[in-house]
């Protein structure tokens, strides 16, 4: 009895089990929706939220761990979406090739772009990536053979292993992808890779002195971020069955940054929460509130206010709520406050 208990305890403490359980919980949503206990539209909103959580996870790795800010997320996500559509629908090569293309090509382009743009720092990098995103966006509008231009690209639910997917199945794929991404991210940040990224953010010079090849690791983080963005783009396409150029604009990139910041830098679950707050809360909560939901434009304003308020009260993101809760639960390890202060100092510099 007690041995099973400890084994179970160990299992429960394994973060990967946590992610799997999280995924399993999400998998019940299509069932709920199918049985009418939950609105089907909620399933769609949650699905898109999870897709954004995937992109945001990549950006969190970039921003939270490596301290690099990218405003090019939307462009790469769009590229993933269009590639998936092009390979699946125009070339007819099927789901797997489409996913592969959406993973590989943006990543390769991301790395190439990274080689150029990672030479510039901080704010310049942000805008350099914005430049790339704008170039991609303009290309989506113009390259009709590829994107169907401003009429928007249409696609279909994929056929996977001979099975015609439907909304619930694509949702399931999104969940699986998210769980894998969470696990992968966990592995990256809880090991040598993550430490090297940390070191790079805290002090580039010290990191170099410790033998961290800064450019390689920046590229690595950038590549992972584009990989996730490409994946998310493909999932977006399969879920929406369409892609429209102007979707992939600066505003989306900023929203993804907002998800990371609102959820909390360097927090895996926080990123999912952030995506939920930024994308789903306005849809599922604000628009359904009395008064606010009734006046056109008000929910939108309140989404903005929501972002501001969260950052005002939880400068470390909503993850901070978790930390505070944990600190209250066990006063044994009062660790995060000094770090906050230290982080402020870093930020102030």
């Amino acid at each position: 009895m007690s041995t099973t208990f400890t084994a179970a305890g160990r299992l429960a403490r394994n973060p990967h089990v946590g992610y799997a359980v999280f995924g399993a919980a999400l998998m019940t949503l299509p069932v709920l929706a199918g049985s009418g206990l939950m609105m089907t539209s909620t399933l769609m909103t949650v699905g898109f939220t999870l897709i954004y959580a995937i992109v945001a996870m990549g950006l969190n790795l970039l921003l939270g761990y490596s301290g690099l800010i990218s405003l090019g997320t939307a462009g790469f996500m769009g590229l993933g979406a269009y590639l998936a559509a092009y390979v699946q629908d125009d070339l007819g090569l099927g789901f797997w090739v489409a996913v592969l293309a959406a993973l590989v090509i943006p990543t390769v382009i991301g790395i190439l772009v990274g080689v150029v743009s990672l030479r510039v720092r901080s704010i310049y990098l942000a805008i350099a990536t914005l430049t790339i995103s704008e170039i991609l966006l303009k290309t989506f509008e113009q390259a009709e053979w590829f994107t169907h231009g401003t009429a928007g690209k249409q696609s279909h639910y994929p056929v996977i292993l001979g099975v015609q997917a439907d909304r619930a199945l694509v949702f399931g794929i999104i969940v699986v992808a998210l769980v894998l991404v969470m696990m992968l991210t966990h592995n990256i940040v809880h090991g040598q890779l993550g430490r090297a990224l940390h070191a790079m953010r805290a002090s580039e010079v010290a990191a170099q002195a410790m033998g961290v090849n800064v450019l390689t690791y920046k590229l690595f983080a950038f590549a992972v971020a584009t990989l996730y963005a490409g994946l998310a783009g493909a999932l977006y396409l399969f879920f929406l069955k369409s892609s429209y150029p102007s979707t992939w604009n600066l505003f989306l990139s900023l929203n993804v940054v907002a998800m990371v910041v609102v959820g909390g830098l360097r927090s895996i679950y926080g990123t999912v929460v952030g995506a939920f707050v930024i994308f789903a809360v306005p849809e599922l909560v604000l628009k359904r509130l009395p008064v606010i939901g009734d006046v056109a434009g008000l929910p939108y304003i309140f989404s903005g206010v929501l972002i501001i308020v969260v950052i005002m009260f939880f400068p470390q993101g909503l993850r901070g709520v978790w930390d505070v809760g944990r600190r209250m639960a066990s006063t044994r390890r009062p660790v995060s406050a000094p770090v906050d202060a230290a982080r402020d100092e870093v930020a102030a510099r």
Partner: protein, 272 residues
């Protein structure tokens, strides 16, 4: 072959300012070598030139970390190499590690994780292996954790291993930086003002630690410090510089007797 580091004719200038002017000195095996000089004499600049944060205008920095080390770093067939022109992040591969004048640690990581960064170059598992958490990578991670704990134990701060580095007092952070250098199997450790901000008894502990490091790890130490008590206590050899130029060198006793050093640096003889 008994010289680990040979700095020859090093010069660098910033704009019109000649920060280093034809400076040469040599650090031997197992030696604790002190570099002293007035503020702005160029000591930190020497360190930066040796570790390639700055590209010197002229001069060479010969480093002889031992043949196996060179072979491991991909330089078979030589017994020393010129560090000038090497990328910064490669320098540590040869066994040359430094600390910083303004302690550089990662506040958001635990003390242990901070030390683990020091082992970065020796980490063998590929990125992929780490991302997939293959058994090999896990084993290596465990092995390095143990090594990092040892390093912390060596500096008597093992009990702080799991605390965040950010909240630690200055003294602990300095030790932490030192523990980090031990992870890289150093041949030469460069310390920039390790005693700054420490009180007298802590400084004494530091002297002891530096000697123990030298003896345990069989490496050399190159040290910049304004605390003459420490310098005179631990150093085997001292080189004094002023305005980027060589001023004097010798044993602590010789340096203390040197008039030029007194004029430029030490002032009245009432401290030490």
């Amino acid at each position: 072959m008994t010289d680990v580091l040979q700095v020859e004719n090093l010069s660098i200038s910033f704009g019109g300012l000649k920060a280093l002017d034809d400076l040469s000195f040599t650090v031997s095996d197992h030696e604790i070598f002190g570099l002293i000089g007035p503020n702005g004499a160029g000591k930190t600049t020497v360190f930066n030139c040796v570790t390639q944060f700055y590209r010197p205008d002229t001069g060479t920095v010969w480093f002889a970390p031992g043949v196996d080390r060179l072979v491991r770093a991909g330089h078979a067939g030589t017994d020393r190499i010129d560090l000038v022109g090497q990328p910064v992040h490669r320098v540590i591969r040869y066994g040359l590690v430094r600390t910083f004048q303004n302690v550089e640690i990662i506040p958001e990581l635990t003390v242990l994780d901070n030390v683990l960064i020091g082992g970065h170059v020796d980490f063998r598992s590929s990125m992929i292996a780490q991302m997939l958490r293959l058994p090999r990578a896990r084993a290596e991670e465990a092995q390095y954790r143990e090594k990092a704990r040892e390093a912390l134990r060596f500096l008597s701060i093992e009990h702080l291993a799991d605390q965040l580095a950010g909240g630690q007092p200055y003294g602990v952070r300095k030790r932490l930086e030192m523990a980090r250098t031990l992870m890289a199997e150093p041949r030469l450790i460069i310390l920039d003002e390790p005693a700054a901000g420490l009180n007298e008894s802590e400084t004494e502990d530091l002297a002891d630690t530096i000697r123990r490091i030298r003896d345990t790890f069989g490496c050399s130490v190159l040290l910049v410090e304004h605390d003459m008590g420490l310098v005179m206590d631990v150093c085997d050899q001292i080189c004094a510089i002023s305005f980027g130029k060589f001023l004097a060198s010798g044993t602590p006793v010789e340096i203390q007797r040197d008039v030029r050093v007194h004029e430029a640096y030490l002032g009245e003889r009432d401290d030490a």
